[in-house]
């Protein structure tokens, strides 16, 4: 049977997508949390800077056109951080430097991050309009603070965010793996229950499956139902047909026998004999078709009774001895005294009869057909003849239905004999093996 082409592993694809997705989500989580926290922390510092700047500006007075600023102690006090950040400031009146750090530039926007005195500083700019007797004046402050405390907080947040992202990823990856295994496991279970079935078991699957797999199992069940029905119908048809053909054939044969006795002319007699042989062949084929149908039915509902293979084979040998005598062939039985086995006696009888029958058909006259019954390694029955054997290339195919060897031409046979033996072997969990003997002849071995 052809194995269908694989479009990739469901497990690998599911895992890759789920775990890859989890990794991407974890990263997104990390960056989102970090950027949000950075934003919040930066806003915190900005707010404190703005408050300090406002409180300083609040202390500004305009006296005689000059700004006087009584710096509140709390303004710088509130800028104290756990990592002792440095503070810089510049106070200007209408752009003229008054006090603080003269080289700290004014800035355009309210908050800026700039480099000053060898460090990155966050800087706030604020101004206030004072109205004096000589007109208005604008006092402005640039207040800057280093970001050591902030970066410490940020690295802590980053660490926590990374842990969070990683934890999320590990959890999601674990869940993905579990879900993938479970999903694929359902398919594997279905596959296993299909594989475990015997070759003729076409009953529907009853075990519960996930809802998504119900259509598949439903289709499978309906396919098997149809298959079962059609097999059943064809078996019935064959059996019925064989049965109906056999009786008229028997009648025709008896007429032919009678006619053969009455005609004297040699060519007529020979024609009659050919006719009788053809009728025999048809009758035998019909019988075997019936046997085959019977075997197919019994194999489906196999009953196992304890029996002795040696007794069983002896009985068949005795029944076939008259046929063998007619062809001057010797049937000799070897092997163990007793081979107990548990199986369907009718099936095994049928198989043994077919084996011996075959051997008698192909064995030349005045030769011996050897039958061996042994219990080791598994109970087996081997029938060997001294006939022409089968070409090596046909050893595998000849037991197929209606298949016949090339040297079978001219011998009565339907091609069903070995098929029946094979079916019986399979029904009992065994097999039929054919091999040529080195000294000529074929050995058919039925292992049970």
């Amino acid at each position: 049977m052809n194995s269908p082409a694989s479009s990739g592993s469901l497990r690998v694809r599911l895992s890759a997508w789920l775990i890859g997705g989890a990794a991407v989500l974890g990263l997104i989580l990390f960056f989102a949390v970090r950027s949000y926290a950075t934003d919040v922390a930066q806003k915190g510092q900005d707010q404190i800077l703005a408050a300090a700047a406002a409180s300083i500006l609040d202390a500004a007075r305009l006296t005689d056109g000059t700004v006087d600023l009584d710096m509140p102690y709390a303004a710088f006090s509130m800028l104290n951080t756990s990592s002792d950040d440095r503070v810089f400031y510049a106070i200007r009146q209408d752009g003229t430097f008054l006090s603080g750090y003269a080289d700290l530039p004014d800035q355009a926007s309210r908050f800026e991050t700039v480099a000053y005195n060898g460090a990155n500083v966050r800087s706030v700019f604020a101004e206030r309009r004072l109205i004096g007797v000589n007109g208005p004046s604008v006092v402005s402050i640039t207040l800057a603070q280093t970001q050591d405390g902030l970066s410490e907080t940020l690295s802590q947040i980053s660490r926590n965010a990374a842990l969070l992202g990683l934890g999320f990823f590990v959890l999601a990856a674990g869940l993905s793996y579990w879900v993938t295994s479970w999903t694929v496991g359902q398919l594997s279970r279905l596959t296993a229950s299909v594989t475990r079935r015997g070759p003729a078991d076409l009953s529907p699957f009853e075990r519960p499956v996930p809802a998504e797999m119900l259509p598949l199992v439903g289709s499978l069940n309906s396919l098997m139902g149809r298959l079962d029905g059609s097999l059943q119908r064809s078996e019935d048809f064959i059996a019925e047909a064989a049965h109906r053909v056999r009786t008229p054939l028997a009648t025709v044969r008896s007429y032919a026998e009678v006619t053969l006795q009455r005609v004297d002319k040699e060519e007529n007699r020979s024609a009659m004999r050919s006719m009788i042989r053809a009728i025999d062949e048809s009758s035998r084929a019909a019988g075997q078709l019936l046997d085959h149908a019977m075997i197919a039915f019994r194999a489906d509902h196999l009953t196992r009774d304890p029996l002795d293979l040696v007794d069983l084979v002896k009985e068949q040998v005795m029944r076939l001895t008259p046929v063998a005598d007619m062809k001057d062939i010797d049937l000799s039985l070897f092997g163990d005294d007793q081979v107990p086995y548990s199986g369907d006696p009718i099936l095994i009888q049928n198989a043994v009869r077919n084996l011996i029958d075959n051997a008698l058909k192909y064995s030349p006259a005045e030769r011996t057909v050897t039958i061996t019954v042994a219990s080791k390694p598994t109970p087996n029955i081997e029938v060997c003849d001294q006939g022409p054997g089968i070409a090596e290339s046909e050893l595998q195919t000849v037991s197929g239905r209606f298949a016949r060897g090339k040297n079978a031409i001219g011998t009565v046979g339907s091609g069903l004999g070995l098929t029946i033996v094979g079916d019986v072997a399979m029904a009992h969990g065994g097999q039929l093996t054919l091999s040529n003997r080195p000294q000529g002849g074929l050995c058919a071995r039925l292992s049970l």
Partner: protein, 329 residues
């Protein structure tokens, strides 16, 4: 030959004269390889034991100890930060501003309590409150004042005794005096009342604790306000009494920093570590009140950016104006 030696001596004298130190002394290590230049506001007499123990522990290092006033320490160091390796001053605000402005090296070595360290670059190593020191003779038979209010009463009651015989820092010249004054003014309005009284008594103004204690010991003044008690104690003089005011105390830390531009960083750090460790060992040889790093945080002037407030040009101008209005009458 003699001429050459004379010339060399002359040059040395000239160099020394140009620097114009209050005091200058080199403590030579036994196997001296390098010399750490320490710029300090603390008198050599009280600091010497610490340096001597350092030099004996580290014979390869010599210490050149240069003393000047707190404001001058700040000025000289800012002018030439590469010239000095270690800076010690009792003016915490000026020291903090030095560290804030990036003059101090950030060290990751010292294991010191949080409240006595700023930015791992400025370390407090002594701790002592500003004290009132009196000459017992002036308070013979009178109750010794224990608070500023009581001192005000005492001065008011007998102005004849104290006229011209009270002393305090000239906050315009002394960094430590300015720190004490601003912290006092921040804590209570009593400070300004006291300054009014002192002004009325024609107060003598000093640059340094040492001079004040000297004049006090010799009876030229009877009361010194806001001086370092450790200087008075170091004199072991029965005539003097140190009063730690019970209303509130202004407690300062002497702080030390290593210059960011020093070329002798390891030696300078070793010296700094020695100062901090001496406090941990409760070194009895030191007359200075060394800071015990295992002790709990005390109510000192906080080492935080708020110290920059009174150094603001406008703020300082306002404060000095108010002070002069009160004291110079």
């Amino acid at each position: 030959m003699r001429k050459i030696i004379a010339l060399m001596l002359c040059c040395l004298a000239g160099v020394a004269g140009a620097q114009d130190w209050e005091d200058q002394k080199t403590f030579a290590g036994a196997a001296s390889e390098i010399t750490v230049r320490v710029l300090s506001s603390t008198d050599t007499s009280v600091f010497a034991p610490l340096i001597q123990s350092f030099v004996s522990d580290n014979p390869s290092i010599s210490v050149e100890y240069l003393v000047t006033g707190t404001a001058d320490v700040d000025r000289r160091f800012r002018a030439d930060p590469a010239e000095f390796d270690v800076v010690i001053s009792s003016a915490m605000d000026l020291q903090l501003k030095l560290a804030n402005d990036g003059f101090a090296a950030v060290l990751d070595t010292a294991d010191h309590p949080d409240w006595a360290v700023w930015r791992q670059s400025l370390f407090g190593f002594t701790i002592e409150p500003a004290a009132i020191v009196i000459n017992r003779a002036a308070f013979d038979g009178v109750a010794v004042p224990q608070t500023r209010q009581a001192l005000i009463e005492a001065l008011r009651t007998r102005p004849d005794v104290f006229q011209g015989r009270v002393g305090t820092y000239d906050v315009r010249r002394s960094g430590l005096g300015y720190l004490f004054a601003t912290q006092d003014a921040r804590a209570s309005d009593t400070y300004w009342r006291l300054m009014e009284i002192l002004g009325g008594l024609n107060v003598r103004l000093y640059c340094c604790s040492g001079d004040m204690i000297n004049d006090l010991g010799e009876g030229r003044i009877a009361v010194a306000y806001n001086v370092l008690g450790s200087y008075a104690k170091a004199r072991i003089d029965d005539r003097l009494q140190v009063i730690l005011p019970s209303d509130f105390q202004t407690t300062m830390m002497r702080t030390v920093l290593v210059s960011d531009l020093t070329e002798k960083r390891p030696a300078a750090i070793a010296f700094l570590q020695h100062l901090l460790a001496s406090g941990a060992q409760k070194d009895a040889r030191a007359p200075l009140p060394l800071l015990d790093p295992t002790a709990d945080a005390t109510a000192t002037i906080g080492l935080d950016p708020a110290l920059l407030t009174y150094l603001d040009t406008l703020k300082r101008r306002n404060f000095l104006k108010a002070w002069e209005d009160a004291v110079i009458q």
